[in-house]
Amino acid sequence: MFSDELEKISWDETTERILSKTDADVRRALAKEHCDVEDFMAMVSPAAEPYLETMARLSRKYTEERFGKTVSMFIPLYITNSCTNSCVYCGFHISNPMRRTILTEEEIENEYKAIKKLAPFENLLIVTGENPAKAGVPYLARALDLAKPYFSNLKIEVMPLKAEEYAELMKHGMNGVICFQETYNKAHYNIYHPRGMKSKFEWRLNGFDRMGQAGVHSIGMGVLIGLEKEWRTDITMMAHHLRYLQKHYWRTKYSVNFPRMRPSENGGFQPNVVMTDRELAQVTFAMRIFDHDVDISYSTREPAAIRDHMATLGVTTMSAESKTEPGGYFTYPQALEQFHVSDERTAVEVEKALKRAGREPVWKDWDASFDLKAFRRA
Amino acid sequence: MKIKVNNKEVETAASSIAALVDELALPAQGVAVAVDNRMVPRAGWADFALAEGMSLVIIKAACGG
C-alpha cells in the first residue's frame, strides 16, 4: 500500500531539497529522456523558472510524440450534492445550508440527453458527494447502466470504495476512476478534512491501490492547489505516487490533475496560496517531461486563454461547458455549484478555439468494444 | 539383472539405488536419480528396490551458464 511508501518520504526534507535545487540540477533533468522524481523536483523548483521556454518546447515535443495533436474531451455530471463530509473548501460542505439533491433515474437520463445536445461527448465523468447510505454503489451502478446507451467511456469521481466495489462497478461499464488526494501532507490533511469519511487520510490514499487491485483501466489523481503553501512538495508526492502505481498496477492508464483554487470574492474559504499562471505552466511542463505518457487534465476551473494555449504544450484532456451542480444541464440549472468555473464557453466554442490552435478535439477516444466485463450485463 | 541407466543397458548386482550409486562410484554431491521419469529423493535410495528392466536417469553437476 502506498501509505507505507509515503511514510518513508519526509515532507520537510523534500521541501528543502526542492528549494536547494541548482541550475545544474535543472539542466541535467532537462537533458534526460527519462527523468526520475529527483529530476522532477528540479523541474518544479524555483531554479527552473528561467528554463520555462525550454521546458515548453520539450513538453510539446513529448506530448506530440505520444498523443499527436489531439485533446480528449470529457464532461462531468454531478448526480448528487448530498455529502456527509465537511471539507473546509468545498461548496458541498455538510453544514452548508443548501438544498440537497439526489437525482432520480429519470432526471439522470434527462441530463444525459441534455449533454448529448451540447456536443458529441462520449467521455462522461459521473460525480457525487459522499453519502454511501443514500447514494452508494447500487445508485452509481444504476447511473452507469443508464449511461451506457449514451456514452462509450464512463468514469466516476466519488468517495473511495472497496476493491470489490470498484470491481462491481466495472461490471456496469465503469472504465475509470478519478479521485483527488487533495494534499499528501498528512500532518495538515485533517485541517482541511476535519470530519466524515474523507477525514481518513490512509483510506483515501490507499484507495488508489484498491483501484489498481480491482483492475480499473484508468486512474486519475490530483492535488488541490491552494491548500498547502508548499505546492511543489505536494505535487512531488503525487509524482512519487504515480511512479509507485505504475510499477504495481502496470496495466492501468493514469491521469493527473492539479486544479488551482481561486480567491473567493464572496467570503468563504480563502486559498492558502495562489499559484500563478507561470507556475501552473512550469508544473505542467515538468509533469510532461517527467512522464511522457500520463494524461494531464485541465478542467473549466482554468481560464479559457490558459486552456487554449496549454492544450498545445502538454495538456491532453479537458472538460468543457461543465456544470458543477447536480442536474445542472437540464433539471436544476440554477442550483448551487461545488466550485466556480472560469472557462464558461460552450463546448462548441471550446472546440473551435482548439481547432484554431491546431489541435483536434477528440470526443471518443476509447470504447469498450472488446471489454467482455463491461458488456456482460448490457 | 539388467536395467537401463540413461538409456544404456547395464548389468548390475545392486538391489537398491543406494547400492547402484556405490557400484558406479558416483560423487557424494551433485547427483540425482529418477526412476521411470520420477525423481527419487536421496533419503529413499536405500529402500528403493531395483527390478529387471527399470529405466533410470542419473544426472550430475556440470559446467554451464
Binding site: V26, A31, R278 | Q29, I59, A61, C63
Partner: protein, 258 residues
Amino acid sequence: MEKLVIAGREFTSRLFLGTGKFNSNELMAQAIKASGTEMVTVAMKRIELDDKDDDMLRHVAGPDIQLLPNTSGVRNAEEAVFAAQMAREAFGTNWLKLEIHPDPRYLLPDSTETLKATEQLVKMGFVVLPYCQADPTLCKHLEEAGAATVMPLGAPIGTNKGLQTRDFLRIIIEQANVPVVVDAGIGAPSHAAEAMEMGASACLVNTAIAVAGDPVAMARAFRQAVEAGRMAYEAGLGLQADSFVAEASSPLTAFLNE
C-alpha cells in the same frame, strides 16, 4: 553500495558467474575467486558410465557461494519441472535458473513455456530466476507469477554483442518490483557497466570471462565494471546538458506574460 536482496538472501556482489566454457576447472575456480561473485550457475548432465572426470562442484562450492542450478537442455515446461526436481535433490538448493530454449541454434528462451513453468515451480517452493526475452510485459507476468528476479537477455546468448535490447531493458527496470538481472550477450566490462548504470540489479556473465585471453584478469575487470556501474547509478549520473541554456526569446510561453 546498496546490498542486493533476492528471496531474502543478501548479496554484496552484483556479478553472477556462469561456469561454462572454461579451459579447466582450476581456471574456473580462480576466475570465480577473482570475480568476487556470490552466485554461480551450475548445469546438470547425464552421467556416462565410464566417466571418471573431475567433480566440478568442489571447484565452485564455498560458504559464500549460492549455487544456481540451471535447467539448460529442457525444451518445455514439463521437462523444466522434472529438471528442477532433479536439481533440488542434486544440489540441495531450491534456487533455480529457469531456462527453456527449444531452439538449439540461438538458444532463445521460450516465453510461453517459461511463464508456465514459473507458475508451477513457484507453487512447488522453488526460488525461480527465469532467463527470458527482454519483453517488459512478459517480465511483469513472470513477476506476478512469483519469480524472484527476471533475467532478460541483452543479446542472443554467447554473442558478446552487449545491450542490443537496451530500450526494453530500460522499461523492464523502470517497471520491475523484483531485481532485474541482465543475462546473456554481455561481452565486455563496458556492457556490464552500462547495464548497471541503467539501474540493473546485477549481471550474469559467462562466455566473456571464460573465453577471454586471461579469464582471471577478465573476471577482475568485470567485478570492477559492475561495481563502478552500480556506484554510478546510485550516485546519479550527470549528463552533458550544454544545449539547455535559458532561452531569451519565448515564443511558446509569451502568453503567460500577457
